[in-house]
């Protein structure tokens, strides 16, 4: 690929994955995936259950070491960097199964995400309040994180991921389990965040959501990338259709 990327921080791509792979025992959870996210875009990742989407996120965020491949973030190779370093460089992620810090309030949870950019308590609290405003969770700032509804907890995940001057937001199924009206609010929120310049990579099961939000889509199946392109292209790709209809023999 682009050999100059490691020099320029203003490269076209905020994130590049070069043939990353992860095997668990004999299982190839992710194999030879190449994706690149443009600065400011919303990139969708779709795929059936167990396709390796979350594993790919874990590799990108540094929570799981990849077996092969390199990760380039903002032009710098971060493959060997631990998760917290990547977070400090401006990568924020949510977890599919929400993970609030239960003994802290909503505000304090978001402060946890802000502290690396705003080291004092007051500055972190200010930043957390600003972020809570952006995700429309401000009126629950003093609630205990565990007391939120599922929709609230998903928003809290986003807020915590966003709080440290984040440039790339990795969202893992932030709409799963929400009712249609909550999901619509979430779509609007992601859209707004994207307009402020944050790049977003979005794992989603709901193809309608992807269609609405994403400029580009990557499709994973059995750990491999089977299609890539605009939502319209991808959704009409026969390989994607077979993968989603579950006829795995045909897909292979």
């Amino acid at each position: 690929m682009n050999a100059q990327t490691s020099e320029s921080t203003q490269s076209e791509f905020v994130l590049e994955c070069h043939s990353v792979g992860k095997t668990y025992g004999g299982l190839k959870a992710v194999s030879d995936v190449n994706i690149a996210a443009r600065r400011g875009e919303i990139l969708g990742i779709i795929g059936p259950n167990g396709a390796g989407k979350t594993t790919l996120f874990n590799i990108i965020s540094g929570h799981v070491g990849s077996t092969t491949g390199t990760i380039v973030f903002n032009g710098a190779d971060v493959t060997r960097k631990p998760a917290h370093t990547r977070a400090r460089l401006g990568m924020g992620r949510t977890f599919q199964i929400v993970r609030p810090i239960r003994s802290l309030t909503v505000l304090e949870n978001v402060m946890i995400g802000a502290f690396h950019a705003y080291p004092t308590r007051e500055a972190a609290a200010q930043q957390a309040l600003r972020v809570l405003e952006r995700v429309e969770l401000i009126d629950r700032a003093k609630s205990n994180a565990g007391d939120l509804t599922l929709a609230g907890r998903k928003r809290l995940e986003v807020a915590r991921a966003l709080a440290g001057n984040t440039q790339l937001l990795l969202l893992d199924e932030v709409m799963a389990g929400l009712n249609p009206s909550e999901a619509n609010l979430a779509i609007a929120m992601i859209h707004r965040l994207s307009l402020t310049g944050v790049s977003v990579i979005l794992i989603e099961h709901n193809l309608k959501v992807v269609n609405e939000l994403a400029q580009n889509v990557v499709v994973l199946d059995h750990g491999a990338e089977i299609s890539q392109g605009s939502p319209a292209e991808v959704l009409s790709d026969p390989a994607v259709i077979t993968a989603y209809l579950g006829n795995r023999k045909v897909a292979k």
């Binding site: 929570h63 003093k142 915590r160």
Partner: protein, 355 residues
């Protein structure tokens, strides 16, 4: 892995804003008045000590209570906020003790630079040990620290220059402070230091990170906290304070022997137990626990003196089990939740009166 109720139950449970606005247990939200409360608390404790001046028995009980309150506060930084069940604090306690005793006995140092040396050495030792020990999580960390303290006890008993099993005796005329009442105030000062450090830590970034790492290490690292670094810092600060306590305790006792300083149960487990009974991860809890538990133990030893040895320790073990089962928030957690319940009940009845 935990099951995920959030994926199953999806109903809207709007907790009343009033209840959630009240602070929930974990000490981070020590509000604007925490430094004021700190000052008042220390003055009150000092006043009580002054009232006991001509009651030497109670004063010495109080002195030991204050020492353990301070040690429990120090342990609470890594054990309560950080959730790391360290059983190695006896080691840092002993490092502080030996620093004072060895420098004084061998090189005729005054105890004060010895105290400083103890703080430095125990902090450094903790920072060095953190790297292998924090590769272990949860119960394995506890086992590692327990093993460490047993090994250090074996080493210290074996090495001749530590005085081996006999320990070290500081000649009486070389002890700068032999007046018992003075020690109650010195330990009070030590408590003030430990609580002040706890306040600074818990209100700052480190305290937040410690709680985050305790509750969910992956989420914390995704938010930019280095779990290893956070735990190492918490462990080192906690160990440094514990080392200071060990140095002071040698000065108080005038001697040092391995079992008194390095016993895995009587020191290593007893300090965490004080913190637990008072309330883990809070500022006030460990103070209460440290004041209550040694006093209770001394009382039981006296009261059961005609029963066979072991009864009072067995009761302590039973208390530990019961607290872990039914009383996890400790005395302070129980008190605060009681107050919160009363307040929310009053708020509700006010609401009803308005209707």
């Amino acid at each position: 892995m935990k099951s995920d109720p959030e994926l199953i139950s999806d109903e809207t449970s709007e907790a009343p804003a009033l209840e959630s606005a009240a602070s929930h247990g974990h000490g981070l939200r020590s509000g604007k008045f925490s430094w004021l409360a700190f000052g008042i608390g220390m003055v009150v404790l000092g006043g009580v000590a002054a009232l006991l001046l001509n009651q030497p028995y109670y004063l010495s009980l109080g002195a030991v209570g204050l020492l353990f309150a301070a040690l429990a506060s120090a342990w609470n930084i890594i054990g309560g906020y950080g959730g790391q069940f360290s059983l190695a604090h006896a080691v840092f306690f002993a490092v502080g003790g030996y620093s004072v005793a060895l420098t004084q006995v061998n090189w005729k140092w005054a105890p004060w630079p010895g105290l400083l040396l103890g703080i430095v050495l125990s902090t450094i030792l903790a920072a060095l040990l953190a790297w292998p020990l924090f590769r272990l999580r949860g119960p394995f960390f506890a086992i590692g620290t327990l093993a460490l303290s047993v090994v250090v006890l074996a080493l210290v008993t074996w090495m001749p220059w530590t005085g081996a099993a006999l320990g070290l005796q500081i000649p009486f005329n070389e002890q700068p402070i032999t007046s018992r009442p003075a020690w109650a105030f010195i330990f009070l000062g030590f408590l003030a230091v430990c609580v002040a450090v706890s306040l600074v830590v818990s209100r700052g970034r480190l305290g937040f990170y410690l709680v985050a790492v305790r509750d969910d290490q992956e989420a914390a690292s995704a938010a930019g906290a280095s779990a290893l670094w956070v735990k190492t810092l918490g462990f080192a600060i906690s160990a440094g304070l514990t080392g200071l306590g060990g140095g002071l305790y040698v000065m108080y006792l005038g001697f040092l022997d391995p079992p008194t300083f390095l016993d895995a149960v009587q020191i290593g487990a007893f300090i965490p137990l004080c913190a637990l009974i008072g309330g883990l991860g809070t500022i006030v809890g460990p103070i209460i626990g440290g004041l209550v538990l040694p006093t209770l133990q001394t009382y039981m030893r006296g009261a059961f003196s005609n029963l066979p040895a072991g009864v009072s320790e067995a009761i302590l073990g039973l208390v530990l089990i019961l607290v872990a089962l039914f009383f996890r928030a400790g005395i302070w957690g129980w008190l605060t939740s009681l107050v919160r319940r009363v307040m929310s009940r009053r708020a509700k009845s006010d609401e009803r009166a308005n209707i």
